[in-house]
Every structure is written in structure tokens, then in C-alpha cells.
């Protein structure tokens, strides 16, 4: 494969970057979830299905 | 939250009407639920320790600080939706001078007069009544003493002829004659129907003009002493808690009745597991 190092570096950034960001977001969500009661997290109370992220009304 | 809220929409005779007003300064809750009624024509003295929320309360009444929660009306205008109308009719003397250091006294006053639609003549009248001497008119504000600046900044408010005066430590830094001039100006305004709110640590000077005193602590109104006699009976009746208006029941005016207190206590105890 030509340019193997470049391709590997680019894919590493492209996959690890969002993954690391996702981890940060998830961990932050978990930490914050502890301090917010479940009743204030609408995506839990409206049932587990069909929630499109519109948590908490408008 | 209580039945007194239902009465909020009915205006009439109240210059300030606050219910559960919460105000933030940055992320700090400066006001934590103020309930306050001020009749038109009253002169109310706000007292309380540093950081009690006096300045923020005045800024709120001026329409400058935003309500985070609760409701409020000033001069019949809703603080949330009509703050611009409120601002046009109030005058605020704040800690900072609200004047430009590099302009002269007259330049400052004429700028504010023209910006807010008052006449330059009104500015001169206001300066004269506060005892700012003629020779100081062309002096840059930077070169004035603290007391003289205070007089100028009061004059800048007075010339707008506000219906509601909001004075934050107005007597601080003034000498005896200055205080006298200021009190006279306040009384003059009240005789023409204006309402006055004064935040002050200096009891004596401010009490001379106040019709009643309200205590603030921790960002809320604390039950206050009965009002002192009014030295300048204004056009409006000054007896504040008229029995006709049940909304004043929520205002900490006098000692809570013992029955109410007992009721509340027993409820509190029964709420415990």
C-alpha cells in the first residue's frame, strides 16, 4: 500500500477523535446524571423507546 | 404559588409590586425571592447588611437587572416585558457615578438631558437646587471632590423628573449641607407625587425622609418595624397595609399573628417522617 503511514494516521484521527469525544460526553453525562433526578431527564420518563433526543420538552 | 399571586394583575396605586423576585448577579443569587409592595408616594428606606441585596433590588426596580424568577411590576409596567417603559420613568443614583470623568459638569448633564429628552434648562435648575456652585460648572468631573460628584449625579437624575426615585447610598460622601439639599429634593419630588426607594446605611439622614423602613437580609425582605410617621404627607395615603388589599398579607409588614405561626409550626413538625 502506498502512503500507508499517512492513511493510518488519518484513519486513526478520524476514528479515535470522535471515539474519545464520545467517551468524554458519556462520562460527563453519567457524572451529571447523578446530580439530576430522573424526573428531570425526560428521555427516561417518556419511556425507553422512540426518543429522538428531544429531551425535556422545549 | 399562593392566592395572593392572583391579585398581581390588578394594578392601581402601587409603584412597586414584587412577588418572589429572584435576581442573579453573574451566577450569584443576589435576590432570593423578594415580596414587596410600595404605594405610590411612599418613601421607603431599605436597610440591611452589606450584600443583603439592596443595590440589586434597586437595579431590578429600575428595569436594569433581569428577573430570573418571580414577578414584578413597577409603575404599572411589567418588569419582564415592559422594562423599557420602566426605565424611562425611574431615576437611579447608583454607587458608580454614571457620569463621564473627562467631561465637564455641564457637558455631562446636557448630554444626559438631551439623550433622555429633557431640556438643558432643567439641568441647570437641578444643579442649582443641589447647591453645585456656578464656578464648578465648567470643571471636568475628574477634578471634583467625591461630595460634589455625588451632587452632580443626583442632579443628573433629578432633571429627568422621575416618577420613581431609586437612591443607592445617596447620602454617602455628602456633607451636612449636601444631605440637607438632597433631602429637600426628595421631599420636593414626593410632594409632586413621586415615590422614593432609598438604600442606606446612614440611618439618620435617610430616616428623615422615609415613611417606613424595610429590612433586607440574604436577598429577601425581612419583617420590618411599623412605619415611622410621615413627615411629608404625600398625595397618596401613606398607611401602607390597607385592609382592603389582601395581597399585602404576604408582605412582611408586622408581626405574624401567633395563630398563623403556631399553625405553620405544627405543619412543619407533622411533615417530618
Amino acid at each position: 500500500m502506498t502512503h500507508a503511514a499517512y492513511v493510518a494516521a488519518a484513519w486513526a484521527i478520524g476514528v479515535v477523535g470522535p471515539a474519545a469525544y464520545a467517551v468524554v460526553v458519556l462520562l460527563r453525562g453519567r457524572r451529571l446524571s447523578r446530580s439530576v433526578p430522573a424526573s428531570r431527564r425526560r428521555w427516561l420518563t417518556t419511556g425507553d423507546e422512540g426518543d429522538d433526543g428531544r429531551a425535556g420538552g422545549r | 404559588m399562593t392566592d395572593c399571586d392572583a391579585k398581581l394583575t390588578g394594578g392601581g396605586g402601587l409603584a412597586v409590586r414584587l412577588r418572589g423576585a429572584v435576581c442573579l448577579r453573574g451566577a450569584f443569587p443576589a435576590l432570593t425571592g423578594v415580596n414587596l409592595n410600595v404605594d405610590e408616594g411612599e418613601a421607603v428606606l431599605l436597610r440591611g447588611p452589606n450584600g443583603a441585596g439592596k443595590s440589586t433590588l434597586l437595579r431590578l426596580c429600575a428595569g436594569l437587572a433581569a428577573l430570573r424568577a418571580g414577578e414584578g411590576e413597577v409603575l404599572g409596567y411589567d418588569l419582564r416585558t415592559e422594562s423599557r417603559s420602566v426605565r424611562l420613568e425611574v431615576g437611579l443614583v447608583a454607587h458608580h457615578m454614571m457620569l463621564y470623568e473627562d467631561l465637564t459638569v455641564v457637558e455631562n448633564l446636557e448630554f444626559w438631558a438631551r439623550l433622555s429628552g429633557a431640556s438643558a434648562n432643567q439641568a441647570h435648575v437641578a444643579l442649582r437646587s443641589l447647591g453645585v456652585e456656578e464656578r464648578l460648572h465648567e470643571v471636568k468631573l475628574r477634578k471634583l471632590s467625591a461630595g460634589q460628584r455625588k451632587r452632580v449625579s443626583v442632579a443628573a437624575v433629578a432633571m429627568r423628573r422621575p416618577r420613581l426615585w431609586l437612591l443607592d447610598e445617596p447620602h454617602a460622601g455628602l456633607d451636612a449641607s449636601g444631605r440637607e439639599a438632597l433631602n429637600e429634593m426628595i421631599n420636593l419630588a414626593r410632594r409632586s407625587g413621586a415615590t422614593v426607594l432609598i438604600a442606606s446605611h446612614e440611618g439618620a439622614s435617610a430616616e428623615a425622609v422615609a415613611t417606613r423602613t424595610i429590612h433586607l437580609a440574604g436577598g429577601a425582605v425581612w419583617p420590618s418595624a411599623p412605619s415611622t410617621p410621615d413627615p411629608w404627607p404625600a398625595t397618596q395615603p401613606t398607611a401602607t397595609p390597607s385592609t382592603a388589599d389582601p395581597s399585602t398579607a404576604a408582605q412582611p409588614k408586622a408581626t405574624p399573628s401567633t395563630a398563623a405561626r403556631r399553625r405553620w409550626r405544627s405543619r412543619r413538625l407533622s411533615a417530618r417522617p
Binding site: 502506498t2 433526578p37 | 399573628s257
Partner: protein, 325 residues
């Protein structure tokens, strides 16, 4: 791997009650689809699709060879990054019109994900440029420079969001920044475009490549997988923003309660001035406990402090909520 993180093992005991994370069933399905998509994309990008080996008129090779595989990451992340900025601008505009907290949180989530995706796009673009153009950074490349400028604008947006301020103030300020940023896109693009008369970036990557079917398909697949990742991140980031605001709100309520109870201890001194009510100080001092008495706490007889304390926590909370909307 992202999907695995999206499928945390639920704590067995209180699973149904209140799982302590921002996931829901739909996001888990989304995460599964994303995982499958990443695997498929890897297969297509590295196994099925051919390298770009074209030859010019004189028989010299002009293709990008295997560097074309970088495109499957670079192009989708750029496009979805721009979508993130677009969402931020839309959310900001609606926020300013309707003062709706929902749109504000959405704008925040969009901006942050936009910056992440655009950052990836810039980095992979540079890595692609080195072997193909022979330079890490080319000033004539319109899209690279535009994307960088735009990322900087939205970094400023995130900077303003990170500052401690009253929530309403922070929301208005960042909303203005969010709108200005997007209005700039066409202008920055035009100005950099004209900056160099020729531009290294082909007018359309697809045309220029004269792509074989499989390469085109892989690129489209890259867009889809990028979209899944974008949606998954957006939902979770939105929920985190929502939780953040909730936590901030309850902190504020706690600060208010604390300030009020601190006031009642302070009131030893005030109460002395207020002769008639001096004995009230300890009666209302423990106001926080009064929360349980409910909304009827301020009946007709209860005055001032008593009534307020009684309704304090519940009533004020409702009002704060109302004011946030």
C-alpha cells in the same frame, strides 16, 4: 467501539428506575448501527475499493493511489462539521426569536460537534495534502482555510459558553456569535476562493476523481456512517447540555436556600432592631425544612417569612422552570 460505549452495562438494581447515563433505547440502536457501519466502512475502504491509479495523457501516474482512502474520512467529517455549525446557527436564531432553552442546548451541541468534526477534517486534510500535493498546508486551498477560520469562530463560541455568567446572559451572547459565524461561511469561502485564482482543491472531488463505482459507493457509505456518528453524538451531547443546565439550576436553588438560611442566622442583629419581631428569628430560621408543607403553606393568616418559607422550594422551582422556557 463508540457503540460499545453507548451500551453500558446497566446497574442491575436500579436499572429501570434511573439509569445514570444519557442513553436510551433509540440511541443504543443508533450506536449498534454505527458500529456495524464503521466495520462495513473499514471493509470497503481498505479491502473492496481500489486505490486511485489513473494515468495522465503521457502515461505518467496522476492518481492519489492509496491516499484516496483518507478521503472516506476527510470528506464526510467536513460535511458533517458544517452541518453542526448550521445546526448551531439555526438553534441560535430560534433561541433569539423564541427564547427557548431547547434550541439553545441544541445550538451548543451542534457547535461543539461541529468543531470536533471540522478539526478532524482539517487534520486529515493536511495529512492527505502532504503526499498528494506535497504540502501540509496550502493557502490556495479554499476549503481548508475556510474551515479553519470557521472552526476558530466556533471555538470563540465555545469559549463564551464556558464562562461563568447568568444563564440568560450567556445564552444571548452565544446565540449572537452562533449566527454571525454561519453568515460568514459564504463570505469567507468567496474571499479565500478569489485569493488565489487557481485553487488546488478540485471544484468537485467526485468529478475530478472520475470515480469507479466502488469508490463512489465507499464515499457515500462514509457519509452515512459519519451521519450516524453525528446523530449519536448530537443526541448525547444535547442531553449532557440539558443535564448541565438542570444541575446548574439545582445548584442555583441550593445557593438561594443557603443564602436565605444564612440570612436568618444573620438576622440576630437585624431582629434586635426590629423590636416586635425579634422572637421570630429562630422560628423561621429552619426554613429549608418547611418545604414539605406544600403550596398551601401561605394561607390567609401566614405572613411574610412564614409563607415564603413554606412554598419556597416547590414554588420557586416551578417559577425558575417557567422562566427558563
Amino acid at each position: 467501539m463508540r457503540s460499545l460505549l453507548g451500551l453500558p452495562a446497566r446497574p442491575a438494581s436500579k436499572a429501570a428506575e434511573a439509569p445514570g447515563h444519557t442513553g436510551s433505547r433509540s440511541t443504543k440502536l443508533l450506536g449498534l448501527a454505527l458500529l456495524a457501519g464503521v466495520v462495513a466502512l473499514c471493509l470497503f475502504a481498505f479491502v473492496f475499493s481500489p486505490p486511485d491509479s489513473r494515468t495522465g495523457p503521457e502515461g505518467t501516474p496522476i492518481g492519489q493511489f492509496d491516499a484516496v482512502r483518507i478521503m472516506y474520512v476527510h470528506v464526510p467529517s467536513a460535511v458533517w462539521g458544517y452541518v453542526g455549525f448550521g445546526i448551531c446557527a439555526l438553534g441560535s436564531a430560534v433561541y433569539l426569536l423564541k427564547r427557548s432553552a431547547w434550541w439553545d442546548r441544541l445550538a451548543h451541541a451542534g457547535a461543539e460537534i461541529g468543531v470536533v468534526f471540522c478539526g478532524i477534517s482539517i487534520l486529515t486534510g493536511m495529512i492527505w495534502g502532504r503526499p498528494v500535493w506535497g504540502t501540509w498546508w496550502d493557502w490556495g486551498d479554499v476549503r481548508l482555510v475556510t474551515t479553519l477560520m470557521l472552526s476558530l469562530v466556533y471555538l470563540g463560541y465555545l469559549a463564551v459558553r464556558s464562562l461563568a455568567a447568568a444563564p440568560a446572559a450567556r445564552e444571548s451572547r452565544s446565540a449572537v456569535l452562533g449566527i454571525v459565524g454561519v453568515v460568514l461561511i459564504p463570505i469567507v469561502n468567496r474571499s479565500v476562493d478569489w485569493w488565489e485564482d487557481r485553487t488546488l482543491h478540485q471544484k468537485s472531488t467526485l468529478e475530478e476523481l472520475r470515480i469507479e463505482d466502488l469508490t463512489l459507493f465507499t464515499l457515500v457509505l462514509g457519509f452515512l456512517v459519519g451521519g450516524l456518528a453525528f446523530a449519536w453524538l448530537l443526541i448525547h451531547r444535547f442531553r449532557v447540555a440539558w443535564l448541565d443546565a438542570e444541575a446548574e439550576n439545582s445548584e442555583m436553588l441550593a445557593a438561594i436556600e443557603e443564602r436565605r438560611s444564612e440570612a436568618s442566622t444573620l438576622n440576630g442583629t437585624v431582629a434586635q432592631e426590629v423590636a416586635g419581631t425579634a422572637t421570630e428569628a429562630e422560628g423561621t430560621g429552619t426554613g429549608a425544612e418547611g418545604a414539605g408543607t406544600g403550596a398551601e403553606g401561605a394561607g390567609t393568616g401566614a405572613t411574610g417569612a412564614t409563607g415564603r418559607e413554606g412554598t419556597g422550594a416547590t414554588g420557586r422551582e416551578r417559577q425558575m422552570e417557567a422562566s427558563r422556557r
